[in-house]
């Protein structure tokens, strides 16, 4: 299969005061070229951790990657030299849109200055390798052209003036547009967008999602889109991967995901959405403590279908439909689909 990104068996822990938190447990995850993949799951299930692992920016002092591989465009990122990753993968081949556009700009520099710094290192024109000693004038002005053009493309009014502003002088929606522009500027192959609309109002969210989807399609960029809002995921993703407490539980194309969820957790999650049809249903119980996670399938303590098997071993991915993979011993059979 021609995947742009293939994460296999990734296991990551964090050293904390109360022991090792097993935040990712043998996670499998892939993204095809030009595909928008949603990574969904409740707060704390490890979405950001997975995203950061791909970017290679897990906190060095506390994160422990104990197994797995991250293959991107034919390179195993976990084996690469970190410096090389920083220069030609991060910000070049893979770019990033953060969750919170309010705090992701440095408050004491103008927006223009921050974009310029990014372009200095990550402009598509920049020669790959050790990075610039000097920011040549010619490149600087061609980069500026490029920036202004893209700012217009993301529908930011008066881009020249905008570059002279400080981040706090710009609204949240505009900041997120800037972030998207900055993610596109290096002409990457993959954009990792970590809950890019959570902090925004619905009307703004709709605008941003629209923009992101259009640009990704136009430019053939793959997007890893994390969110805990299933509605948002439905809007933008071609394919979904659901995570629960550090484990990937199900991965499917959007259509079959919403119509025929197979993993019990996915089913319950979808049922939790307020709906006129079935009222309000939650999932009883609580997410496990990741420093002492339950063995086997981590959802088993809250799962009404759980068996002894579930409590012992975590199922391997099994195909349950076209491109539809679930890791469940007792997959749902069309039961409870919304």
């Amino acid at each position: 299969m021609d995947d742009l990104l293939a994460v296999t068996g990734l296991t990551v822990g964090f050293a904390t005061e109360s022991g090792l938190a097993r935040v990712l447990d043998q996670v499998d995850f892939r993204i095809g070229r030009g595909e928008i993949v949603g990574l969904v799951g409740e707060s704390g299930c490890g979405k950001t951790t997975l995203a950061r692992a791909i970017l290679g920016v897990l906190p060095a002092n506390s994160a422990r990657i104990s197994a797995g591989s991250i293959e991107f465009d034919g390179r195993d990122l976990l084996q690469e030299d970190p410096d090389a990753l920083a220069t030609d993968i991060r910000g070049r081949a893979i770019t990033f849109v953060p969750q919170d556009p309010f705090s992701s700009f440095n408050p004491v520099f103008t927006i223009g200055r921050q974009i310029e710094e990014l372009m200095k290192w990550k402009s598509p024109d920049a020669e790959p390798g050790s990075g610039p000693r000097r920011y040549a004038r010619a490149r600087r002005s061609s980069d500026l052209e490029r920036v202004l053009e893209l700012l217009r493309i993301v529908q930011l009014p008066d881009p020249e003036a905008l570059l002279r502003k400080y981040p706090h002088e710009v609204s949240g929606g505009q900041r997120q547009r800037l972030m998207i522009a900055m993610a596109l500027l290096p002409e990457p192959k993959l954009i990792i967008a970590d809950e890019p609309t959570t902090a925004l109002d619905v009307t703004i969210q709709a605008q941003i999602l629209k923009l992101l989807r259009r640009l990704a399609a136009e430019r053939g960029v793959s997007v890893l889109f994390t969110t805990h809002d299933l509605g948002t995921a439905y809007e933008i993703c071609d394919r979904m991967t659901v995570m629960y407490a550090g484990q990937d539980v199900e991965s499917a194309p959007s259509d079959s995901f919403f119509t025929e969820p197979r993993h019990i957790y996915t089913v319950r999650l979808l049922q939790s959405l307020p709906s006129r049809d079935h009222g309000i249903r939650g999932i009883p119980g609580q997410v496990p403590d990741l420093t002492a996670p339950p063995p086997g399938c981590r959802f088993h303590p809250r799962c009404d279908a759980a068996s002894a098997l579930c409590r012992q071993t975590r199922p391997d991915p099994s195909d349950v439909g076209a491109g539809h993979v679930a890791r469940c011993w007792h997959p749902a059979q069309g039961e409870g689909t919304p």
Partner: protein, 352 residues
């Protein structure tokens, strides 16, 4: 944080940076005068509860009652206290801090003659602490929990705990008395360079007199090191905390995730943010520096305001001490004013 509603909003009412700096300056200047007035009232009050009678002292051992009365009239001490206060304020407004009971010269003259010595020392100490303290603070933050961080932590903790006068004595004991590497005390051997600015380093450079320059610097070393030690510790501490705060922030996270080299992020971007916090501390640092200057100058016989104050103490020269307090207060207020203004300039979010 997830799902929380967005906070913050575009501030279209924000004036430009220059405007902000101006507004800040004016705002602070408006408070300058009342603060100074309050300070005057405090010093006046203090000097009016003194046990000894300064007039009797000025009058000398053999003054008669009439002479004392005449002197009281001359100095205006026979008037009601509010009138005296008013006259005192008027006097200070005109640069008249009274007469030194000890030297019999106008206090203002004495203080101005000594101000450059103190300022030169303070400047050198501040620069020294900044130039060394800031990079070390950044290093400590970047290499958090490394042996370097721990060593620097010991350093900062010591810097803040050590009594400056004792440290000064220790340095003297070691470098001047035992090893003989530096002069024991004083600002220069003999008379120093011809006064132009009053700063000996500048003056000896202006005069092209390298020998004197070397001598001046030699004399400067121990006092400057003593003074800058606690200041350096404070600066380091705040820089470290500031850098750590900044490093843990989302914008650094973002830049690193976008592959901007760590060293660039830290030294060009984080530092600026960290310095905002450090700059606000300069006022505090300067205050401590001045405080320490009093005793450090006494130990090193540095002919500045601190030594003047100590001599005034020994001579019970109340006018001298009050003059010193006032001028220190003024210098301190001005420094804080500058700090506020520069803070406003560095941090675009600051709105006064």
């Amino acid at each position: 944080m997830t799902g929380a509603a967005p906070r913050g909003r575009a501030g279209t009412l924000q004036p430009g940076l220059e405007m902000r700096a101006l507004v800040l300056t004016v705002n602070r200047l408006v408070w300058f005068v009342p603060t100074l007035l309050g300070l005057l009232v405090i010093t006046f009050t203090i000097s009016h509860i003194i046990p000894a009678d300064p007039i009797a002292f000025i009058a000398g051992d053999n003054a008669t009652a009439e002479q004392i009365a005449a002197l009281k009239a001359k100095f205006g001490v026979d008037k009601p206290v509010p009138v005296q206060l008013w006259n005192y304020i008027l006097g200070v407004a005109q640069g008249d801090f009274g007469i030194s009971l000890y030297t019999q010269r106008p206090i203002a003259e004495d203080l101005i003659a000594r101000l450059p010595a103190t300022l030169e020392l303070a400047f050198v100490a501040v620069i020294l602490s900044g130039v060394i303290g800031i990079p070390l603070g950044v290093l400590a933050a970047v290499r958090r929990n490394s042996w370097l961080d721990h060593a620097l932590r010991v350093f900062t903790v010591s810097g803040l705990a050590i009594a400056a006068f004792w440290f000064a004595i220790l340095l003297q004991l070691l470098f001047a008395m035992k090893l003989g590497w530096t002069p024991l005390q004083g600002r220069v051997d003999g008379w120093g360079p011809d006064p132009v600015t009053g700063f000996y380093i500048v003056d000896s450079v202006l005069a092209g007199d390298l020998e004197t320059l070397a001598d001046v610097i030699g004399h400067m070393v121990l006092p400057a090191v003593t003074l800058s030690f606690p200041a350096m510790a404070t600066i380091m501490r705040f820089t470290r905390a500031g850098v750590l705060d900044a490093i843990n922030s989302n914008y650094v996270d973002y830049q690193l995730a976008m592959g901007v080299p760590r060293r660039v992020v830290v030294w060009r971007y984080v530092l600026r943010n960290a310095l905002i916090g450090t700059v606000t501390q300069v006022g505090l640092v300067f205050g401590n520096l001045i405080a320490n200057a009093v005793v450090v100058e006494a130990v090193f016989d540095w002919p500045g305001l601190g030594l003047y104050a100590v001599n005034s103490i020994l001579q019970s020269d109340y006018n001298g001490i009050m003059g010193f307090t006032l001028i220190m207060g003024t210098v301190f207020i001005i420094v804080n004013l500058l700090v506020d203004i520069s803070h406003g300039l560095i941090d675009p979010r600051e709105t006064g």
